[in-house]
Amino acid sequence: MDNKNLVAGFLWLWVVAGMAAYLYQFQGFVRPILQYLGIS
């Protein structure tokens, strides 16, 4: 794996992991959102 692929891999990982980490704080919102939308 060359440097460019390594950097690209890191950036993709950062984006996906960053979004997951951001969303984690809202875990308690899932049920109220589903309730509000009438899905649960």
């Binding site: 951001y22 969303l23 984690y24 509000y36």
Partner: protein, 629 residues
């Protein structure tokens, strides 16, 4: 229709005032068409807020003078350059058209909020309430409340004509339009550095930022202060490019309007001023900048100093304060500051937390005040490595970059805010968010433009937009329900404003000659009778249990003119029936129950199911002092 017409009238007036100012400064011919129209509107809002202060002092906030003021602005609009001859709309490809469609959806969400009654607590407590009281009185008067009343109100003054001439719907529509203006200015500033698609994407990221969704369409001043920040930052860059003092003056005016809109504007003026004088002719630049800041922003500080002795009440009250002791004492002042420091500043002011704060506020670790739902979203975090790599890759060009002043102003303001700011709520940083967005987006785009890292960056943009647009849609659903349900105002307000269920009864049954003691500040806007806040924000009635006794408490209630109380009755398991020290009055049999309301307390308007508790509100009558014998 009147409301819509008045909002258009006010838009035209702001464009006219801005055009006149840019014309006087002789920089209007030096601007691109997009910059000209958007920055004219932004500066026009500042000019309108500024002009309304002397009108308010003179007691000229009636229909006639306000109409004449807007008409004067509308007449000045003849100075505007004609769009047909100078504007060439950008061409949009398929992606651009998709982003435009998304923009239309987002504006539709905002419009639903704009035509509904206001339900935001801060707006109902003072952003909209103070202008309403000024309109009722036909003049401005001093409101001896820290944070809510004795504050710079340049932005809130722009709500006065809309409310006085067009009513409540014009007020909320004006909030919507002035919030959108921030997006328009941001788009134009982005266009200097990014193509149309990236500029649109950054604008959409901004308009759907949780803090913008929360405050942009409400009365919060932050979204409108972003306009003044962008004017100041843009003019600073132009002053570097041209060396003209006119731009330094405009940068000072932009900073001064922010100073007139919020105390934090003082920190911004310091940050922007430092950057503006950094290059050549620092003395001349500094003098011109300071003069403009003073001219644009001094009035509310003079107003505060006149009434309290403290221009930044209550920050310097212990040294300069001379307010009537019946309203605010030194001991209450010390107590208020202690509480404020503790509640509003949970994180230590250390170098470590200075660096960690943005991550803490984004990811929700540490104790950050309402940062998740009213924060800045994930965008900054996701593009961080792209932006950092861009800065590194083009480090040799940094000193010449036109974005360096934006970055310097934003960073300096953040540093000053973290050290001296009164509250660690991240939404108070919203005014500099556009500068941050431009800098990181341009750096990230430059880095990824020519490499195969581009798709990861596009993914970061797309995920942020999807998430934030979804959240915006969820927020707007509440307003869609209101419109779909036949615009039932009472039902909407009962659903969204804590304690509102008591308001119609109070307005119908209690005499307007009395004064109501309330614990829910958001009720003030909808109450028809005078009220006093039962919180530590006021010092008329000492609410510290250790600072009072029942006789003193009763005397203070009577002196404040309180005849009735609307208070929360604690549940069965609570230590006291009412919040202390009100229980003392109850135990002394000085309160008689008139009416009670069982209602559901809503902690989130967007997600009612998030936290919701049953509570009881009681209307109590304060008996005469003989109850203590």
């Amino acid at each position: 229709m009147t409301a819509v017409a008045i909002v258009f009238f006010q838009i035209l007036a702001c464009l006219g005032f801005g055009a006149a100012l840019l014309h006087v400064l002789k920089i209007d011919t030096d601007m691109g068409p997009g910059e000209y129209w958007t920055l004219a509107f932004a500066t026009g809002i500042g000019v309108l807020g500024w002009l309304l202060f002397p009108l308010g002092i003179l007691g000229l906030l009636g229909w006639g003078p306000l109409s004449a003021l807007l008409a004067a602005g509308a007449v000045a609009a003849v100075l505007l350059r004609r769009p047909g001859t100078i504007l060439s709309p950008p061409r949009f490809d398929a992606v651009g058209r998709g982003l435009l469609a998304l923009l239309v959806v987002i504006l539709a969400f905002d419009l639903m909020e704009g035509i509904a009654p206001s339900a935001d607590a801060d707006s109902l407590a003072y952003h909209f309430e103070n202008p309403k009281r000024f309109v009722d009185a036909g003049r401005i008067f001093f409101i001896p409340l820290p944070l809510n009343g004795a504050v710079p109100m340049l932005v809130q003054m722009t709500y006065v004509p809309a409310l006085a001439l067009g009513g409540e719907t014009a007020l909320t529509l004006w909030a919507m339009v002035s919030g959108w203006a921030a997006g328009a200015v941001l788009f134009i500033l982005c266009r200097r550095h990014l193509d149309v698609n990236w500029s649109l994407a950054v604008t959409l990221i901004f308009l759907t930022t949780p803090a913008v969704i929360y405050g942009g369409g409400a009365g919060h001043v932050e979204a409108r202060n972003t306009l003044f920040v962008m004017v100041a930052a843009w003019a600073t860059v132009r002053s570097f490019e041209t060396g003209r003092l006119n731009y330094v003056f405009l940068a000072g005016l932009g900073s001064g309007f922010f100073v007139g809109g919020k105390y934090l504007g003082l920190l911004f003026a310091a940050a922007c001023g430092l950057v503006a004088i950094f290059r050549r002719r620092w003395l001349a630049n500094g003098l011109v900048f300071s003069l403009a800041v003073l001219a644009a922003g001094f009035q509310w500080y003079a107003w505060n100093a006149w009434h309290t002795g403290d221009p930044v009440f209550p920050v310097l009250f212990q040294w300069f304060g001379n307010l009537d002791p019946a309203l605010w004492t030194n001991s209450h002042d010390a107590f208020f500051k202690e509480i404020l420091l503790k509640v509003e500043n949970p994180l230590p002011r250390s170098p470590l937390w200075f660096v960690l704060f943005p991550f803490s506020a984004t990811l929700g670790f540490g104790y950050t005040l309402d940062a998740g739902r009213v924060g800045f979203g994930p965008y900054g975090l996701l593009v961080l490595p792209f932006a950092a790599a861009g800065v590194w890759k083009f480090r040799h060009r940094l000193r010449q970059s036109p974005l360096l002043p934006y970055a310097a102003v934003a960073l300096l303001f953040y540093g000053l805010w973290y050290i001296f700011g009164g509250s660690q709520r991240i939404r108070h940083l919203l005014p500099i968010l556009p500068l941050f967005l431009i800098c990181v987006s341009v750096a990230a785009e430059r880095f990824a433009r020519t490499t195969h890292y581009r798709w990861a960056l596009i993914c970061a943009f797309a995920m942020t937009l999807m998430l934030q647009t979804g959240a915006h849609g969820l927020f707007a659903l509440n307003y869609a329900k209101y419109l779909a349900g036949g615009s039932d105002r009472e039902a909407f307000l009962k659903r969204n404003v804590n304690g509102y269920a008591a308001v119609p009864w109070v307005n119908k049954n209690l005499p307007k000659s009395g004064r109501l003691f309330i614990q829910h500040r958001q009720l003030r806007y909808y109450l028809n009778m005078p009220s006093i806040l039962g919180t530590f924000l006021q010092g008329e009635i000492e609410l510290r249990p250790e600072a009072t006794n029942v006789r003193k408490l009763h005397r203070q209630f009577s002196q404040a003119g309180v005849t009735y109380l609307l208070v929360v009755r604690n549940g069965d398991g609570a230590a006291a029936i009412y919040e202390p020290p009100l229980g003392m009055l109850k135990n002394a049999d000085c309160l008689s129950l008139i009416k009670d309301f069982k209602l559901r307390t809503v902690h989130s308007r967007t997600l009612p199911g998030l936290i919701s508790t049953l509570t009881t509100l009681e209307v109590l009558r304060l008996k005469p002092e003989s109850c203590l014998e």
